[in-house]
């Protein structure tokens, strides 16, 4: 199942990107090769541009009609006003570094990114009567480039995330080991025995895996994500010790992860923080709704994991051990 979905995400992603790029080429969605008519407004009104070698901070006005014509769409109604640093050359032409971080930049943002300028778009200006004629480099294959960049960037980021876990993992696994040696984890397991023997029939009631799973789920409930991961990975290691077939998930593992991903939430810490930052009058309002939604999901998740484990395509086949 995971094989198919994993492949599907990649294939659908690449095909969509290619499809969009082909569409952009056929529609000339970025107005490649067509010069722009723009108006320049400096600090002291209209820029006529005579001072050679000087640089001014100006506003570049593009009419809605121009935007519609270049971007091949009727959906644009407003003019664009873009901040730009304009440097004049000896021959009366000029170069501009356009800041595309403003709201009216629209598709210019995509062009700047595609041309490798990040948040600035480079353009050439030439006088044309009262206005200026602007030329920008051709833009093509935007989405395929985006896909490539995203893939390389995230590959590095994934390693950073994994390595970033080392510290917190070491800390909690150390503390956990002390509790284990002291017999505390076994006590904990004994305490919740009536529940765990039903949830995890294949795991001995006082196995260290049970204690770790309880720790993981409790930490998750309290919104302590940093502490939850080490406990959870410890639990997986303990469950793996009971696994007769390495490389294949056991029923207990899947039930544990069903509990983990749907986990009953008492304190949705991140969501509350974001709500507070966004100016909510009652950021903690979602505690009740999150609790009920996650409780419902958890009950279903455990039931589904039990039911699916009996479906033929998912059944744990002890015979073909590897």
């Amino acid at each position: 199942m995971l094989n198919h979905i994993w492949l599907a995400l990649i294939v659908i992603g690449i095909l969509t990107a290619a499809g969009r790029d082909v569409y952009d080429v056929t529609q000339n969605s970025f107005g490649n090769g067509i010069p722009w008519e723009v108006r320049l407004e400096g600090p002291d009104g209209e820029v006529t541009g005579t001072g050679q070698g000087t640089t001014v901070q100006a506003t570049l006005h593009v009419s809605a009609a121009q935007l519609r014509a270049h971007f091949s769409t009727d959906a644009i109604a407003a003019d664009a006003a873009l901040p730009a640093r304009v440097t004049f050359r000896d021959d009366g032409s000029a170069s501009a570094q356009i800041d595309v971080r403003v709201a009216s930049a629209g598709r210019f943002t995509v062009m700047a990114e595609a041309l490798g300028g990040g948040e600035t778009l480079a353009a050439n200006l030439r006088r044309a009567g009262a206005d200026w004629e602007m030329r920008v480099d051709d833009v093509s294959l935007v989405y395929l480039r985006k896909v490539t960049n995203a893939a390389f960037e995230i590959a590095g980021l994934a390693v950073e995330i994994a390595l970033g876990l080392i510290g917190i993992m070491a800390l909690w696994l150390g503390v956990m080991k002390v509790a284990e040696e002291a017999g505390l984890i076994t006590h904990l397991a004994r305490l919740v025995r009536p529940i765990t023997v039903r949830l995890f029939p294949d795991v001995p009631a006082e196995h260290p895996a049970v204690g770790s799973m309880i720790m993981n789920i409790s930490a998750n409930m309290l919104g302590l994500g940093n502490a939850a991961t080490p406990f959870g990975l410890k639990a997986m290691e303990e469950l793996e010790k009971l696994n007769p077939k390495s490389g294949v998930a056991t029923d207990a593992m899947v039930t544990f992860l069903a509990l983990n991903t749907s986990c009953v939430t008492l304190i949705p810490a991140t969501a509350i923080a974001v709500r507070a930052a966004a100016g909510s009058s009652d950021p903690a309002f979602i505690i009740g709704t999150s609790f009920l939604a996650s409780l419902t999901a958890t009950i279903f998740a455990v039931t589904i994991s039990k039911l699916l484990s009996r479906v033929k395509m998912f059944r744990f086949d002890r015979a073909e051990a590897n």
Binding site: A151, T261, S262
Partner: protein
């Protein structure tokens, strides 16, 4: 309700220090050589983190490609008839789809949605409830199974995704109930 909220914030501040104190204190009481044993346990942290790397890289790259291509817009158009039928509001759909795929992606969508539709209306409360009540299923599966080298995950993914779907339905229901 206010007392409950104070309690909640006290618990979240106290939980970690209290847990450390309790574990280590109990260990010392049982005459465990706490530092020596803790170091022994901590060594594992490095191995587990390194073992996760290939799983996490491949999982996150596949999701990143899907996100960067803008395929989500296409996907939303496809599932829209179904979700309209079961009553998930269209405004919350990007959140519902991104939540199991990417933690940072859904955090961004939650923020954007609340900026556009307000924090305390139906949509605002719904997206934050969605964010708060489920985990990033793909990430959890990659990390947890990666840590023990599980490649055949059997029914873990369908279970996780079905649970996410039920969480969304439940969130729509309960938020509708209180607002």
């Amino acid at each position: 309700m206010d007392i409950f909220r104070t309690l909640v914030s006290v618990i979240s501040a106290l939980a970690i220090p209290a847990l450390m104190l309790f574990f280590l204190g109990y260990g010392a009481f049982k005459k465990v050589k706490v530092y020596e044993v803790a170091v022994e346990g901590a060594k594992e942290g490095f191995q587990i983190a390194v073992r996760i790397i290939p799983y996490l890289v491949l999982m996150l790259v596949s999701i990143a490609i899907f996100r960067a291509s803008g395929a989500m817009d296409v996907f939303i158009t496809l599932v829209r008839p179904v979700t309209d039928f079961v009553g998930i509001p269209a405004e919350a759909l990007p959140m519902a789809i991104m939540r199991p795929l990417s933690g940072s992606g859904s955090l961004g969508i939650m923020t954007e949605t609340m900026q556009a539709y307000g924090t305390d209306g139906f949509i605002g409360v719904l997206v934050s409830t969605l964010y708060g009540s489920t985990e990033t299923t793909f990430y959890v599966l990659a990390v947890y199974f990666g840590a023990v080298g599980i490649r055949n995950t059997r029914h873990a993914l369908p279970t996780g995704l079905l649970a996410d779907f039920i969480a969304f339905l439940a969130a729509v229901f309960f938020v509708g109930l209180v607002l």
